[in-house]
């Protein structure tokens, strides 16, 4: 009886959290005329029409390419800066190093609306509105604190004696870092990269305010399918899946590290 109640509870939990996702997937392959029927139709002949429309008529390829370029380049930028920075924080005594945590936290607290306002004005003066560069620069900045904190955690786990032995053997600091420390922390670095990619890929507010056509990203394109008069639900759900599927794949890959990433490395799973 008790086990039965338990399975029922698990089922209820799953129903709440998974149904919206399944419903989206079903709507994405449902013929348009059945989408707006009530009660909801669950059985029908699936169609790929909505995907055809978003890829060949609405041209979602542009935003898809933009999102990919921006997320990938910003992630590489984050890694290129965060890895050496966290190595320094982990190995050397840096002035104000211990205060960095609270500085990072305060950066996280700022409402994005506050940050985006001056950035909007600055980028406007630099003629960088609606460019990849603007969003890449912002995402690098936004993701840097969590990345530094997370990577520092991985470096801290590697004994200092290892670098010191390498130095004694005539290795330079740089070589010790590149040849020994980086390969040892490769899984952690990869996880950090993937989480940073997810954050950049999903971001909306900066993207909608700083792009309009040329550098429009996927979340902005999705919101644009919602016009004042009507919402193209079939196309919207198909777009939602295009945005969501890569993230699901990545999230499953870094499942072990996900909570660490979402809590600035404060909670280890």
């Amino acid at each position: 009886m008790k086990t039965f109640a338990k399975y029922l509870a698990v089922l209820a939990v799953m129903a709440f959290f998974i149904t919206p996702i399944i419903w989206t997937a079903i709507t994405a392959i449902k013929p348009t005329e059945l989408i707006s029927s009530s009660p909801v139709v669950w059985f029908f002949r699936p169609t790929l029409d909505h995907f055809r429309v978003i890829f060949f008529e609405d041209n979602i390829l542009g935003p898809l390419v933009n999102s990919t370029i921006i997320a990938v380049l910003s992630t590489l930028g984050v890694l290129a800066i965060a890895a050496p920075a966290s190595y320094a924080l982990s190995r050397f005594r840096i002035p104000f190093g211990s205060q960095l945590a609270s500085y990072f936290l305060s950066a996280r607290m700022a409402p994005p609306v506050t940050v985006v306002l001056p950035l909007f004005l600055i980028f406007r003066n630099l003629n960088l509105i609606d460019t990849h560069t603007a969003l890449i620069a912002i995402y690098i900045t936004v993701n840097m604190p969590f990345a530094i904190w997370m990577i520092k955690g991985f470096f801290d786990e590697i004994p200092k004696e290892l670098d010191e032995a390498a130095l004694l053997d005539g290795c330079s600091r740089f070589h010790a870092f590149v040849r020994i420390i980086l390969p040892l922390t490769a899984p952690g670095l990869a996880a950090t990269a993937i989480i940073s990619f997810i954050f950049a890929w999903n971001e909306f507010l900066f993207a909608i305010l700083l792009t309009n056509f040329h550098a429009r990203t996927l979340p902005v394109a999705a919101s644009a399918l919602m016009t004042d008069r009507m919402v193209l639900w079939g196309e919207l759900c198909a777009t939602a899946l295009v945005i969501y599927l890569p993230v699901v794949l990545f999230a499953m890959l870094v499942r072990k590290y996900l909570i660490k990433g979402f809590t600035f490395g404060a909670v280890v799973q």
């Binding site: 996702i21 989408i35 009660p39 609306v113 001056p118 900045t141 305010l209 999705a222 919602m226 909570i259």
Partner: protein, 271 residues
């Protein structure tokens, strides 16, 4: 890093002391603290602040109660446990905009899933996103859906640190389930929960994306929480100085909140 965070901060502070509306093309004029005075005297601001208080309070409370209960449930042994624990993270990696759009669809008053579900209980169609209080409820449900899994995973991570020998020994000595939770489990996971609370409070307070696509602050101003209110002031009305001041007031509120949680954490650590 510093260029991208410190410069905008200084810029924002300076802006908040000026009158500058982009739509009128008038030159920037220094007006001291007038923006702050205007905000604090504005009934719209206070209405939005109160709304934000209820929104954040409701979201975070429900997420915590649900999240901790679910975590306890998923911590027990059952078939398919690993699959369930993997699937539960799905909502939280979805782009908040996409989640907002999907929930807008579910709460559609003509053919959304929400109405189908309440039909089962014999309740007729509800105009979810048209009725102000239902819309407020709807945006909370969307946030709860997306972020309860975060609390679940944080709690599960904390539960791993609970010493099993200790709980076993307590059980053998005749401690009840509730006593074990109260005296062994809770003290162990308290600091992890505090971090979860801190992050959720900050993010719920700043959230814009979901409301932006679900209701656009409406109907009327029913779901216009401070994050969205600030956005409107800045990018619909282009009142730059006013928006900068609003943002700084928000930042101040969050900092006070966060500081008090951090201090609470420190105190429990010491005791």
């Amino acid at each position: 890093m510093i260029a991208m965070t410190v410069c905008p901060s200084i810029y924002t502070v300076a802006l908040s002391l000026c009158r500058w509306n982009l739509t009128f093309g008038r030159p920037i004029t220094f007006i001291g603290l007038s923006n702050y005075q205007a905000i604090l005297a504005s009934p719209d601001f206070w209405a939005s602040a109160v709304r934000t208080f209820w929104y954040v309070g409701a979201c975070v409370t429900v997420e915590f109660v649900l999240g901790i209960l679910i975590a306890f449930l998923l911590d027990t042994e059952f078939i398919g446990r690993n699959v369930v624990r993997a699937l539960i993270l799905l909502p939280m990696v979805m782009a908040p905009v996409v989640a907002g759009l999907i929930w807008r669809f579910i709460f559609n008053d003509e053919w959304g899933l929400a109405n189908d579900i309440i039909h089962v209980f014999g309740i007729g169609n509800k105009a979810w996103l048209v009725d102000p209080s239902l819309a407020f409820f709807a945006v909370i449900v969307a946030d709860v859906w997306q972020w309860t899994p975060f609390i679940v995973l944080v709690t599960l991570a904390g539960l791993q640190a609970v010493p099993r020998e200790l709980t076993e020994a307590a059980r053998v000595d005749g401690a009840s389930w509730l006593q074990i939770q109260r005296f062994i489990v809770l003290p162990t996971i308290r600091s992890v929960l505090a971090i979860g609370l801190l992050i959720r409070l900050i993010d719920a307070f700043r959230s814009v994306d979901q409301i932006f696509v679900m209701t656009y602050g409406g109907p009327g101003v029913a779901t216009s929480v401070l994050g969205f209110y600030t956005y409107l002031k800045g990018f619909k009305f282009f009142d730059m100085g006013y928006t900068a001041a609003l943002g700084l007031i928000m930042l101040f509120i969050i900092s006070v909140l966060a500081q008090s949680i951090i201090r609470m954490m420190m105190r429990t650590k010491e005791s």
